[in-house]
């Protein structure tokens, strides 16, 4: 498999894109990162926890998925990762499949202060759909995928709880 991996979380450089080739032969992983061959030995210790040996260096990488974003933790450093399969017809796949309707949920209790997209509107992945304010802080709730806003479930001024479904993108 060949992936394009976008990693965010490096304070200095912003998003960094990698081209990652992964395949399996004779019980070993073959890994090329931006064309350079890297010796990788991976064991899934338990769901969400990958024990990696890169050369002889050992890493425990933890996986977390929150509000449509996937995070990878290497030690105490947290990275946002977006994985695309350039061969895929849909153009983008995340670790979890993107087909079917997706819910946009409130990440925290607060109040909807603006609805940015109307029902039936076309949205790109990452486009802002609404703004939720909590303790005077505004948080843009973004569409997890490209699609059509099927329903808007919270009007401006509505108080919402964490996890409440705000909109559905099909």
């Amino acid at each position: 498999m060949t992936y394009e991996v976008a990693i965010d979380g490096l304070t200095s450089t912003g998003v960094r894109n990698y081209r990652l080739e992964l395949s399996r032969a004779d019980g070993r992983w073959l890994c090329r990162l931006d064309g350079h061959e890297i010796e990788v030995d991976a064991v899934l210790a338990r769901p969400g926890v990958l024990s990696l040996r890169i050369g002889n260096k050992a890493y425990e990488v933890r996986y977390e998925r929150v509000a449509g974003e996937q995070y990878l933790w290497v030690g105490s450093a947290r990275f946002t990762a977006e994985v695309r399969d350039p061969r895929s017809l849909r153009g983008r796949v995340r670790a979890v499949d993107d087909s079917g309707p997706r819910k946009l949920t409130a990440p925290m209790p607060g109040k909807v202060v603006r609805v940015l997209a109307s029902q039936g509107a076309q949205v790109e992945a990452g486009a802002g759909v609404m703004v939720v304010e909590a303790m005077k802080m505004q948080n843009e709730i973004k569409s997890p995928k490209k699609g059509v806003i099927q329903r808007i479930l919270a009007a401006e001024g509505t108080a919402v709880n964490a996890g409440d479904v705000l909109a559905i993108v099909e």
Binding site: G9, G48, V61, Y63, V66, G75, A77, P109, A162
Partner: protein, 507 residues
């Protein structure tokens, strides 16, 4: 000894008390609200009873419902934990009337200590050192102005019924006094139904040091050393330790003896805590008495080798204290970090939700008192304390190093936790030098983060791991997601051959 105890609480403290019950071969009865059916304390208990809606007033604060469960279950005693009904004299009285032993002080002792102004009056009589100020509620703005002028600015306005920083205002000059008094009064009225406010001289950059006391019902009272609780945010403790780096044997004895006088003056029994403010010249002043088991009690347990919950239960059962003051020894150093479900990158905003991945630290010197488990959803209805991580070492430096190591092992996924805050605190040069006061944390948080920036190498590791997780599919990424939304993930992964291909890829 009691055969059965009801725990009128939830979260980590309910689990803590249930554990003590089981160690003493006492059956533990849990109560839970509608959103707590799946909570850890229900899983650990021997019996569990629903007591109503999520709102605490409908459940954990509802005296009638809790006493009804006590009667139905045949519990002989009630442990209130901390918070909720733990310092409610009306509840203690209702327990006594119902013939159930309240594990804590008597209602009368709570009344004496529950009002901060009445406590001040009692302490004045007992000769306990106090911060200059009024021991009665302020009658008028004019009186406030006079007292403030006499004791000198800055002054602190405090709610008589207060706690947790509510109804509290720091006033730097006369110009601010009037509006501060009005807002303190209305906040106290809203929070406690009692607008009584009094005034104290504000001690600049004080330390907050408290003394643990235990009193049996036969007139024996002991102190168990102090806890340094100066690291606070919005008047809530964040890190606590025992012993305090500035308290030597002589000061410990003087503070302890003052705390025992406070305890005896109130006719207090069971476990309690006497809080002191300590100024830069190490003068200590009585602040208030907390008539409950404290959140931070484990640090005292570790340095004294005593189990406070066991002792609370024994005292409530009428036993005598099994040791004397001379037998109490302080050994080693313990530090507690309060792990909260809150977002350090978003102004410590509460972050309830589902815990999708939980990796808990262990090993030498580490104690974890936790109320969560993987797959559980932290409800938004209560205090967001998830767990208490406590390090215990030969000395302060070793305890800090153990905690830093444990924090690296600790991982809470799916919700935000304040773990990174403790990395910052424990690495801070002033913290390591024990230069602490109640303004420490606000000052530290104003500074820019100096945490080591992730390097390119770690980013490459993350990129490789991201690709591996993508190849392995959703089941490899998260146990929590699969366990709770099994049907959904099957539907998403409708093509079986794709799943088979993934499995092959991993072999």
């Amino acid at each position: 000894m009691f055969k059965k105890i009801l725990i009128a609480n939830r979260g980590e403290i309910a689990v803590r008390v249930i554990r003590a019950c089981h160690e003493m071969e006492i059956a533990a009865v849990a109560v839970y609200s509608d959103v707590d059916r799946a909570s850890l304390h229900v899983r650990k208990a021997d019996e569990a009873y629903p007591i109503g809606a999520a709102a605490a007033s409908e459940s954990y604060l509802n005296i009638e419902k809790i006493l009804d469960v006590a009667a139905r279950s045949g519990a002989a005693a009630i442990h209130p934990g901390y918070g909720f009904l733990s310092e409610n004299a009306k509840f203690a009285r209702a327990c006594a009337d119902a013939g159930v032993k309240f594990i804590g002080p008597t209602a009368a002792a709570m009344d004496a200590m529950g009002s901060k102004t009445r406590a001040r009056q009692a302490m004045e009589r007992a000769g306990v050192p106090m911060v200059p100020g009024t021991s009665k509620g302020l009658e008028s703005y004019e009186q406030a102005e006079q007292v403030a002028a006499r004791i000198g600015y800055p002054v602190m306005l405090k709610a008589a019924a207060g706690g947790g920083g509510k109804g509290m205002r720091l006033v730097h000059s006369q110009a601010e006094l009037k509006s501060a008094l009005e807002s303190a009064r209305s906040e106290a009225e809203r929070a406690f139904g009692d607008g009584e406010v009094y005034i104290e001289k504000a001690i600049v950059n004080p330390r907050h040091i408290e003394v643990q006391v235990l009193a049996d019902e036969h007139g024996n009272t002991v102190y168990l050393g102090e806890r340094e609780c100066s690291l606070q945010r919005r008047h809530q403790k964040v890190v606590e330790e025992a012993p305090s780096a500035i308290v030597d044997a002589d000061m410990r004895r003087r503070m302890g003896e003052a705390a025992v006088r406070v305890t005896q003056a109130a006719g207090y029994t069971n476990a309690g805590t006497v809080e002191f403010l300590v100024d830069q010249a190490k003068n200590f002043y009585f602040l208030e008495m907390n008539t409950r088991l404290q959140v931070e009690h484990p640090v005292t347990e570790l340095v004294t080798g005593l189990d406070l919950v066991h002792l609370q239960i024994r005292i409530a059962a009428g036993e005598r204290l099994p040791f004397t003051q001379e037998e109490v020894k302080i050994r080693g150093h313990a530090i507690e970090c309060r792990i909260y479900a809150e977002d350090p990158d978003n102004n410590y905003f509460p972050s309830p939700g589902k815990v999708t991945l939980l990796l808990e630290p262990s090993g030498p010197g580490i104690r974890l008192d936790s109320g969560v488990y993987e797959g559980w959803t932290v409800p938004m209805d209560y205090d967001p304390l998830l767990a208490k991580l406590i390090g215990y070492g030969t000395d302060r430096e070793q305890a800090i190093d153990q905690l830093l190591r444990a924090l690296d092992e600790y991982f809470v996924g799916g919700i935000k936790a304040n773990i990174s805050l403790f990395r910052r605190i424990l690495r801070d040069p002033d913290f390591r030098a024990a230069k602490l006061d109640t303004g420490f944390l606000d000052r530290m948080l104003k500074q820019r983060k100096t945490e080591a920036r992730p390097d390119d190498n770690a980013a490459e590791v993350a990129a490789i791991a991201a690709g591996l997780f993508a190849m392995l599919g959703p089941a490899a990424a998260s146990a929590g997601e699969r366990a709770s939304n099994g049907a959904e993930s099957v539907k998403k992964d409708s093509s079986n051959w794709k799943a088979a291909a993934r499995r092959e890829a991993m072999q």
